[in-house]
């Protein structure tokens, strides 16, 4: 059973804004990154997954349950972390997580036990009787994770989970996400605008822009395609680039006369060296660099039709 499958999923808001436009996807269990710029439709997609927002057209099946019709039933098996602050400051973490466990349908005793267990998992066991108002942003984020996991969901939805965290907090959060997906065996969908972050934990990436599916591919594919070789030469840069293209390399002009070569499968290093020797230009810089997400979106638009990670 796929974790999630959509067909021609479209959401238009009354104001005429199209948040999702004909999204067709099929995702297998794992940690899935949902990347896109702010306003790309990530949060809308998550809310439709939760059954909180009705799509304008199309279908969405999550965990084998129709999300557009059976929201309450589906939500029993989902955990959700909103991107904004959503914790009452005057409650202790233990009380809040226990309460949320009960609201998730767990009996009282099980709720208490699992709340303590989850707070231990996220590393807040010693602080669990303190009021949340006194917590740091990182600690609050962990409480949000604990309350989302307390009822042992089958799928965890995270909206910008590293927002507002310092580098150490980000690392901790990403580690917890990785453990949730790989050790706890819970499906995870992480929405983020920071590719560099979620690519550290994801098995599969879905990139959307303005409601359209740009790419859906395994993380290896993405990594291969976003890795670039930056070459700077002393001499005629443009002539050098053209002779590289003539030798079959995907070389394009970068800023300030630099040349960007998609690394891909091949190894362009020898070709660059030999060409430089032939033309007598001096190599000033040869360095690996990661392409920015936006560049990738422009360089590789989505193919027609649907995408699946079944083979990933």
């Amino acid at each position: 059973m796929p974790l999630l499958s959509t067909f021609e999923l479209t959401k238009r808001y009354p104001g005429g804004v199209t948040a999702l436009d004909g999204l067709t996807l099929e995702l297998e269990p794992g940690i899935i990154g949902l990347v896109g710029a702010n306003g790309a439709g990530k949060s809308t997609f998550l809310k439709i997954m939760l059954g909180l927002l009705a799509p304008t057209s199309g279908s969405l099946v999550v965990l084998g349950i129709d999300a557009t019709r059976n929201g309450p039933e589906l939500r029993q098996f989902l955990g959700y972390i909103p991107e904004f602050d959503c914790l009452p400051p005057d409650q202790t973490a233990a009380d809040l997580v226990t309460h949320m466990a009960r609201v998730s349908g767990l009996p009282a005793t099980a709720a208490r036990e699992r709340a303590a267990e989850m707070l231990r998992h996220v590393g807040l066991y010693d602080e669990r009787y303190r009021q949340i108002g006194g917590y740091s942003t990182g600690m609050k984020q962990r409480v949000k994770l604990a309350q989302a996991l307390v009822h042992d969901p089958k799928l965890l939805l995270l909206d910008e989970p590293t927002n507002g965290l310092d580098p150490a907090g980000r690392a901790d959060m990403l580690d917890l996400i990785r453990r949730t997906g790989h050790e706890f065996g819970i499906g995870v969908i992480v929405a983020s605008h920071l590719l560099s972050e979620i690519e550290q934990v994801c098995d599969f990436l879905v990139a959307i822009d303005a409601g359209h599916l740009l790419r859906a591919a395994s993380i290896e594919t993405f990594t291969r395609e976003t890795e670039l070789l930056v070459v700077e030469v002393v001499g005629d840069s443009e002539a050098f680039r053209q002779s590289l293209v003539a030798k079959g390399l995907a070389a394009r002009a970068g800023v300030g006369g630099s040349i960007l070569i998609v690394l891909g499968d091949g190894s362009p290093f020898d070709v660059v060296r030999d060409t430089a020797a032939e033309m007598g230009v001096g190599l000033m810089r040869v360095a690996r660099r990661r392409d920015r997400l936006e560049d990738l979106f422009q360089a590789a638009p989505a193919g027609a039709g649907g995408a699946t990670n079944a083979a990933a």
Binding site: E73, C86, Q91, R114, D172
Partner: protein
């Protein structure tokens, strides 16, 4: 990616346990919200200071009943200072304070701190949330409203020579006590939750509830008294007067009150500057006569049939339910 320190790693490595016990679904979720709300109203689970207002108000609420119970013991059940039918009117301001201080806590925080996003990502529907919160406050008010009646009944039973007979005598009273308490609890709960949900900030919600529950009657009363023929329906603008009218009706359905002669209360025309002593004496006599007669209450002056209060109660509850539905449907989470 830095590795966690060994100590932290050791804590993490206890391992994740999947849960395969019972799941109570949507019904369990609503129950959890309801009981959580009930605890919140009484300040349970919110630290020591949160318990002071509800406990103090309940204590003040019961004091007249305790006095009445003591008097019943002293006077062999003959002395009646506080009655079942008049208790709501005596304690209206306590109900007002209780609603004003305990209601906003139930719903404003969930909106202000966006906890609703967590609730609505569960099996809970928006209407479930509203029902659970109103139900929790109504239950709390029902308990608070019943407590003094219970104390007075116990006072009567203990004072009586024949307990059995005292209980039998009080039996017709019991469904009325329950009915009036229930109606008032649902009415005040719906109205004060609606106000809090719309206003969203605790201090302002408290002020608004105080204004509607306590100031409205003070504002309306002189208007009704001055022009009973035209202004009588204004009593329905005060939820507390509606509750009072309903209570009076529930406890006294059989008696039809004779209409009060309101012409009595029209102010006397001013005396002419040069009035003689006979006129002044007549004026004094009239004043004394009027003073000896009990001034009718606002509700007696308005003299509306009980059904009007019942219909207004039901109407206000339905209106509140409608407003709450719209309000919570419009909240984005």
């Amino acid at each position: 990616m830095p590795q966690p320190e060994p100590a932290a790693g050791a804590i993490y490595d206890i391992g994740y346990q999947h849960y395969d016990g019972k799941r109570l679904g949507r019904a369990g979720a609503v129950r959890a919200l309801y009981f959580h709300g009930l605890r919140t109203v009484f300040g349970i689970g919110r630290g020591g200071r949160a318990k002071i207002p509800p406990i103090a108000l309940i204590a003040i609420m019961v004091i007249p009943a305790v006095i009445q119970a003591a008097l019943a013991g002293l006077g062999n059940g003959q002395i009646q200072v506080f009655t079942h039918e008049g208790y709501f009117r005596t304690t209206v301001w306590i109900f007002g304070l209780f609603c004003a201080f305990q209601t906003p806590e139930l719903v404003t925080g969930d909106q202000q701190y966006r906890v609703l996003a967590l609730y609505f990502s569960r099996a809970v529907l928006r209407s479930d949330y509203v029902l659970a919160r109103v139900g929790a406050l109504a239950t709390a008010l029902f308990i608070v409203a019943l407590l003094p009646h219970f104390v007075m009944l116990m006072g009567d039973y203990f004072a009586a020579e024949h307990v059995g007979e005292a209980i039998r005598k009080s039996l017709p009273m019991i469904p009325r006590i329950l009915g009036a308490a229930f109606a008032i609890a649902v009415l005040l709960a719906t109205v004060s939750i609606t106000i809090s949900a719309i206003i969203r900030r605790r201090p302002f919600a408290t002020a608004a509830i105080l204004a509607l529950f306590l100031l409205a009657s003070a504002f309306v009363a002189p208007l009704v008294m001055s022009r009973p023929d035209k202004m009588r329906y204004l009593v329905l603008a005060s939820p507390m007067m509606v509750g009072d009218g309903l209570t009076t009706w529930v406890f006294d359905t059989t008696t039809v009150r004779p209409p009060v002669d309101t012409t009595e209360w029209v102010p006397l025309p001013p005396l002419a500057p040069g009035a003689d002593s006979a006129a002044i004496a007549a004026r004094r006599a009239e004043m004394r006569r009027r003073f000896r007669r009990r001034r009718p209450s606002v509700l007696e002056t308005a003299n509306l049939p009980g059904v009007v209060y019942l219909a207004t109660t039901v109407g206000l509850i339905l209106l509140g339910a409608g407003v709450l539905t719209l309000r919570y449907r419009s909240i984005e989470t």
